[in-house]
């Protein structure tokens, strides 16, 4: 199972990288979103999959699955949401002021 998920992560990372390297700013933002999906899965997988029960002490019996990666991912999900929101707004505000969504055209704008 872990190997399978890791291969999936590899595909996600490759897709995300390709998107991030493109010129269109929406593709870049989507790329970062996919990349954060991949990283969340990666953290969870490295903690071991299906090693125990739900980490709720009153609801299930030991052994429990590792709770630390879950806490880290929870933090990461919220942060990546905040960052996505921020760069989305940054992108469209840049488009409104400069008039392009092409990263190559954004280069060297004198509006610094």
């Amino acid at each position: 199972m872990e190997t399978l998920i890791i291969l999936l992560i590899g595909i996600l990372v490759a897709v995300a990288t390709y998107l991030i390297l493109s010129r269109n700013i929406i593709r870049v933002i989507l790329g970062t979103a996919v990349l954060s999906h991949a990283v969340h899965l990666l953290i969870l997988t490295l903690g071991g999959l299906k090693t125990g029960n739900v980490p709720l002490l009153t609801e299930a019996d030991a052994p429990y699955t590792d709770a630390l990666p879950q806490a880290l991912i929870l933090t990461a999900i919220v942060i990546s949401f905040a960052v996505t929101a921020f760069i989305l707004v940054l992108a469209y505000r840049a488009y409104q002021d400069i008039g392009t969504d092409d990263l190559d055209a954004l280069r060297g704008t004198n509006d610094e």
């Binding site: 199972m1 872990e2 190997t3 399978l4 998920i5 890791i6 992560i9 590899g10 595909i11 996600l12 990372v13 490759a14 897709v15 990288t17 998107l19 390297l21 493109s22 010129r23 269109n24 929406i26 593709r27 989507l30 979103a33 996919v34 999906h37 991949a38 969340h40 990666l42 969870l44 490295l46 903690g47 999959l49 299906k50 125990g52 980490p55 002490l57 009153t58 609801e59 030991a62 429990y64 590792d66 709770a67 630390l68 991912i73 933090t75 999900i77 942060i79 905040a82 996505t84 929101a85 921020f86 989305l88 707004v89 940054l90 992108a91 469209y92 488009y95 190559d104 280069r107 060297g108």
Partner: protein, 802 residues
Amino acid sequence: MFSVTFAIILPFIIAALVPFIHRRFKFIHIGWLVMLVPITLFVMLARLIPSVASGKTYIQTYSWIPTLNINFTTYLDGLSMILGLLITGVGSLVILYSIYYLSTKESLQHFYCYLLLFMGAMLGVVFSDNLMVLYVFWELTSVSSFLLIAFWNHRKASRLGAQKAMLITVSGGIAMLVGFIMLHTMTGSFSIREIITSIGDYTDHALFVPAMILVLLGAFTKSAQFPFHIWLPDAMEAPTPVSAYLHSATMVKAGIYLVARFTPVFGGDQIWFWTVSGVGMITLFWGSFNAVRQTDLKALLAYSTVSQLGLIMSLLGLGSIALQYGYSADSVLYTQATFAALFHLINHSTFKGALFMVVGIVDHELGTRDIRRLGGLMTFMPITFTVGVIGSLSMAGLPLFNGFLSKEMFFAATVQIMNADVFSLQSLGIIFPVIAWIASVFTFVYCMIIIFKTFLGPVQPEKLDKPLHEAPMGMLISPIILSILVVGIFFFPNLLGAYILKPAMASIYPMFGDPANLTPSIHAWHGVKPELLMTIGVVIVGTLLYRLLKKWKPVYGLLSSRYTFNAFYNNFLSFAASKSTIVTNKYMTGLLRDYLVYIYLFFILTVGGFFFYSGAFSPNFSTDARIRVYEVILVGVMAVAAVAMLFAKSRMTATLLNGVLGYSIAIFFVIFRAPDLALTQLVVESITTVLFLLAFSHLPDWKRENIPSKTKITNAVISVGTGAVVVLVALAVLNYDRFESISTFFEDAYELAGGANIVNAILGDFRGFDTMLEVVVLFIAGLGVYTMIKLRAKKGDENSEN
């Protein structure tokens, strides 16, 4: 009770206050207040002279970074006393002088702030026992010197001179830092006192010589020794009080101080002896030789300072030989060189300080310091003339002035060194008196130039912008005091010897027992000895050369300007600047993609390359959990959705596919027993999709990207490579069991945090700090979004952005 630490800190405190005081009392010259600082410190230090002379030292330690052996230890002994008195004493006089030199129209708050900064830093250098602390203060003197040289920063020459001084002294400082670290590696201590006591065990250490050379580099750059002397003449762009203070009396003496301080550490080694005395001798000659051809009085004094610094440096080198012999009646003779060095250190500060102030007066009152435009000032400026003559004659080494005494001792030391039978001195020793004598002849010549070309000869009022007149009395006080010292020391040299120089000798030769044995009685007349004959020779030949100056001056034309050290420095600087511009422009393209490509390539090459190189990759599939059919289907759906994003025709499709990925991951979270994550992921994914759709109403639909297929292939290769390396790393780490898992700790959440939901207990309690900061990040992002949208500049007042 006097505290040395207080002496270091006081100037810094006042420096911080100066701008505020200046704002409150604009009508008073702020210099009057600033002058109280060095006067106070001078008095406090002077009160300690008797106890220091009796061999007492003052140590104070404040723990700073004890784990790294770095403590704020101040140490007051004879050697640091000399420098401390010079810094505060000359400092007081210079500030008094500057009050009349700088009008209130200048930005005085900057000037005195920098000057106090320098004073504090310089006191820090001489009073620090810890090498790291010393280094910090050392660089701080370079920084404040930079600020002071560039005080008139509207002048290009000032800025360039400041830059040159900064580059050279700071580079030397960094070399010195490396040397200090080597010393620490060897001895395990940053304390100079501890290093001195333990260095005997490490003289054969592989780092001993490199550390010595690096420390010397720091000293030589700071004290303007050949070939690093080129910064000092350019530093003369500074206001004259600064030149008198930093670039003749104190900062350039820091290198001398360092060499003296490290003599007990490195002295006695052949390389130390030859480097210090050799470089000093070359500097002595080169400085005096070049001073003769200067037409700008300040440049002349700069070269003369270089030369005099070389003299002191070479004396310290000569004196270090005594440590090779160890303590005996014979070796004491060699320590006289060191004694002469310290003596001349003080003398030079007095006569050179006076001379700088004289030149400053001439420049300030007449508007020029070019000797071709000056002459005959004696009748118009009698007091200035008197001070100038006293300073010049002292520098030339003539009797009735303190320079004569130390110059004689210098000659004596060079003659004495020929008797040494180590370091191949039997054959090479002769070069010391020869070079010393030749250099002294040139010294005599330029001293005559100062006197005759400036103050005697025909007056040339038509070449001057201002009428001839004597300077205001206030400006004359400081040079007069200094010239009184010049004469006074000549008549009472042994007072200085017993109270100031004797304890300093004890600091340099700590293992030589009673410093009284090392302190000779200084006499102006000691019979017809070689040194006296040398002085007489200097006067005769010097007068001859001065008379024939016009005949032999073309010699200087032979020195091609293309091969000077200045040209080398300039070429190196412009070469470095142009080449680094080219290199930087090559890879700083301004394209986001290029920068990302660097990052990804670096990641692939280093991480992937390391796996390939180390052969660390040994995956273990045996612990894999079982795979069920629906999981395979889910993985397949995600893979297809991900790849389909690359070929999506519209941004809407791509966003929805991203949503598919997000919801599939939520299902995985359910499968992998993470209910909190699943819930969060579901909600966040929904909100993110809404966000994308909202933002799309403000963005254009995406067009087909016309990217050349070559770039596409590169991107694809990098993407696949990144994915592959991530897979490799993940597989390698998956079964890493070198350390025990910490997750069992969190399973006691109910007892420790009172919560049955472990994930939540971690978020709220165990790692609450993370969560708190995360909330802050979230908040900042929200604020950022709000500001970008709501607080944009209105059309029409676009200038408000800049």
